[in-house]
Symmetry: C2
Subunit: 568 residues, 2 copies
Amino acid sequence: MSKNVVIIGSVALGPKVACRVKRLDPDANVVMLDQRDLISYGGCDIPYFVSGDVSSFDELRSTSFHVVRDPKFFKDCKGVNVFINTKAIGIDREKKLVIAEDLKTGAKKEFNYEKLVIGTGNRPRTLEVVGHELEGIYAISGLDKAIKIREEITNGHIEKAVVIGAGAIGLEMAEALSDMWGIETTVVEVMDQILPGIVSYDMAKMAQHHMEENGVKFYLSEKVLSFEGDTRVKKVITDKRELDADLVIVSIGVIPNSELAKGAGLEVSNFGGIIVNEFMQTSDPDIYAGGDCVAIKNLITQKLGYFPLGSLANRQGRVIGTNIAGGRAKFDGAVGSFVIKLFDIAVASSGLSLQRAKKEGLDAISVFVAQLDRAHFYPEKEVMFLELIVENGTGRVLGIHGLGKSKDAVMGRISSVAGLLKYNIHVSDISNFELPYSPPMSSAMDILNSVANVAENILEGRAQPIDLTTFVKLWKDREEGKVVFLDCREEQNARPYVDKYSKYWINIPQGELKTRISEVPRDKKVVLVCNTGVRSYESYLILHHKGFTNICTLLGGLASVKNLGIDI
Amino acid sequence: MSKNVVIIGSVALGPKVACRVKRLDPDANVVMLDQRDLISYGGCDIPYFVSGDVSSFDELRSTSFHVVRDPKFFKDCKGVNVFINTKAIGIDREKKLVIAEDLKTGAKKEFNYEKLVIGTGNRPRTLEVVGHELEGIYAISGLDKAIKIREEITNGHIEKAVVIGAGAIGLEMAEALSDMWGIETTVVEVMDQILPGIVSYDMAKMAQHHMEENGVKFYLSEKVLSFEGDTRVKKVITDKRELDADLVIVSIGVIPNSELAKGAGLEVSNFGGIIVNEFMQTSDPDIYAGGDCVAIKNLITQKLGYFPLGSLANRQGRVIGTNIAGGRAKFDGAVGSFVIKLFDIAVASSGLSLQRAKKEGLDAISVFVAQLDRAHFYPEKEVMFLELIVENGTGRVLGIHGLGKSKDAVMGRISSVAGLLKYNIHVSDISNFELPYSPPMSSAMDILNSVANVAENILEGRAQPIDLTTFVKLWKDREEGKVVFLDCREEQNARPYVDKYSKYWINIPQGELKTRISEVPRDKKVVLVCNTGVRSYESYLILHHKGFTNICTLLGGLASVKNLGIDI
């Protein structure tokens, strides 16, 4: 007899499960429900539709060979029965049936299942402040809302937009509005950095500066108190200012849709994610769940985490499909891999940020390196920035971030480490990482190896580094006379700085340091700087060997400072 | 008392050891010898100097901040004493001294060591055939030869060049000669594919086709018998033809320079690589060796292998430096990572090729996939090709190759797997690989995941695939009437083929197959094709379920066939 499989939700996970089950078990009777009428699209893709990069929303729900994935497609090509506008309102685990409501007619329907899959996704957090119901305020939730936003923009009445929340979707929307439609766009974020929880503070500042250079305004550490307007929003009121706005995008995080699961008595985590085992089964083995509604083990912290990503939903969907068809596929968990294109740069990350690692109680440090992304003598090249987050004492690698203009190259370095993080790797594993080498693609001692080499030196006490934030603070206090900046570059590079800041900027090229050591002041803190941090590290070792103690070296060098937008 | 460290050889490994030792132990007395006068450059970088991409040879031996790494630089900036034109001719392990000869004066010198490092590199294999001593025939060995080749080219008398050997350096030289200097260039290779031992046959054919489209000629499975000319080479005579040549580059592999080590009684492998342990110590614990003269454990086969790469020499140099300074750093071995830029594409690889795996006695299969390198709806994208080499039965991943126009993206996918190979991973680890996802950078179900998904399906008997070579054979024999090609694409894509090849090309779009199954012939072999292999796989499953047995599906689809240059 053919197996009854019911799938609730049909954006990313559901369709993957459905197709996989039918491929492995063509006789299975697979039914997929969704409360909306647009199905099987990529939720992460919405900003590219709003921007106009993707011209029609049908492209977002098409196969790579341009067939629209609508209910007819699923029926004809996949043998899957889809019920749209059909909302699951209850699960009777005793009788093994799903109770649903046809949202057009109000009629109740029942679906018997042998295996049930919950792929109910998530919903955006709402900002329940005065005026939140005004027209022109949108949370990104589903393709239907995105279509309305794009209609508003193309109608041409939008001049100023405010994006609330500087997470991935918020920033992508800000870029879409600003870059593609020329809308004056401001991002308001309650935390003190963009991409909070995803990348560390210094790299976030660098990414923010790049967006600012491209015309996006940012107000961080700022809370939205209310919206003003008659029927339509006109102003966003924060705790520090008023901002004019014809359009507001609220993108302050998401909440797993686990109410249905909870109502059926299934286990749910404290943050609302449905709890599943490595086979993606809920606490009822005949009910699977996956995608944006589940809690997933963080393979670095070993705690339950939340990773609402279309990519993971796809992988989990395949695992569920295999298991429903009688296999034993596993999904172990995730380390959290991330990439975003922001104008001309990519920012990528895998594992924990420094702030996140500290929050988890880990004794973590972060190591920041700037280096060319291919052989320094090769004509085409860009500076790349990598940050490695490592645990003091053990040398365990907890995470890595990257930023740079060669977007695929940045992402390549991060994904090289992404797969390794769950193996509890040590910095020496990255020092010796066997990246393919050819001058047009990488360096013999690639930046990926370098960042680990520097981390090792720091862990073993061979350097006293300072991060960019500390450097900026020291620089701000430079007139107090307690600090001197020792420029380790050649004279022609250092001269403009020495001329401009003669009181606290001195120059001794690294190669001359040994013979000119008497010129280094012993009564002040000496901050060693060069372009990327290589020569200042060499100079540090020389001074350290000669008994200097009040010295430190700037990680990432002046190239990094420049990319923060600090005017030195 | 300060430690005496002597280093023989100063291209890649030597300088790394020297600098690392001095950083960790500034009091060490470090001496570095080299028989040539140009030191500390990247051997892998020579083709970019010959091409003119790199304008002066000084750039190849400069730091990233444009300081030339000559003996004075090592003395002043690094505290390392360099003796150039000084050839080590013997090692007295009893007395712990190196005997050397000044090649300018003939004078003998002795250097006492406490720790000795052998970094003697390798030398090119020579082609000892009639006429090999003629002018205009070069093996790439060292920067000095490269300078002479470039002089010859810039003098403008070179119209036709023959490159013998289609390994990495040979192909890079062919591109340099052809692309940058407009020289009519022919590559002759004794094996039946380019990049033998590095990538599998099908992908090599694809790379070759790309180079041919860019004007390079290839003669494979062809042996050079002699050279002709008066004083200067005029012709290359192979076992199949005569080729005119004003310039010949011989690039047929390298031999480790281990004679010095052997002479001192140190252990050397059967192929001539000096044997070292994980600390890079030779059979004499006071003598270290690394770089292109050592044998390294292949972490996939667990046998001794040979990996002459500047990148590994750098990593090994750092490990040796650490250990000489009193540390305990390790270098476990290598899996063999590779990347090359060939005109507009990159070809990358890590681990074993299919042919290599079979040679090692492994029951390996290879899985070939074509897919867009980012979300299919994103405007800028390219087709990428990945090949996964896996072990039958166990599902162990043995290697991966990639080819495509987004070079950094290709390399990123390969390096994502490079670090994992030594952990004995299963295809499911790649299926679930957590690649960062964003539509401008990757796909939700990325090609990297897809290639593993397809591999899993094949390993579990859910597909009967054929590779490109087999397809080409079947296509050649198409008139024999034993085979029919079933095109699973939509009608408008398939029509031109049906019109042209009505006798053996039929079209049933995948979505219509279930209702049109009676149209599929049961008396012939049915080869299922589509653009990339996705729809043909779906169709395969439908036919298989209906009892068809003489069916197979083309891996990589017609997109791959097209990139082989096969005219269908």
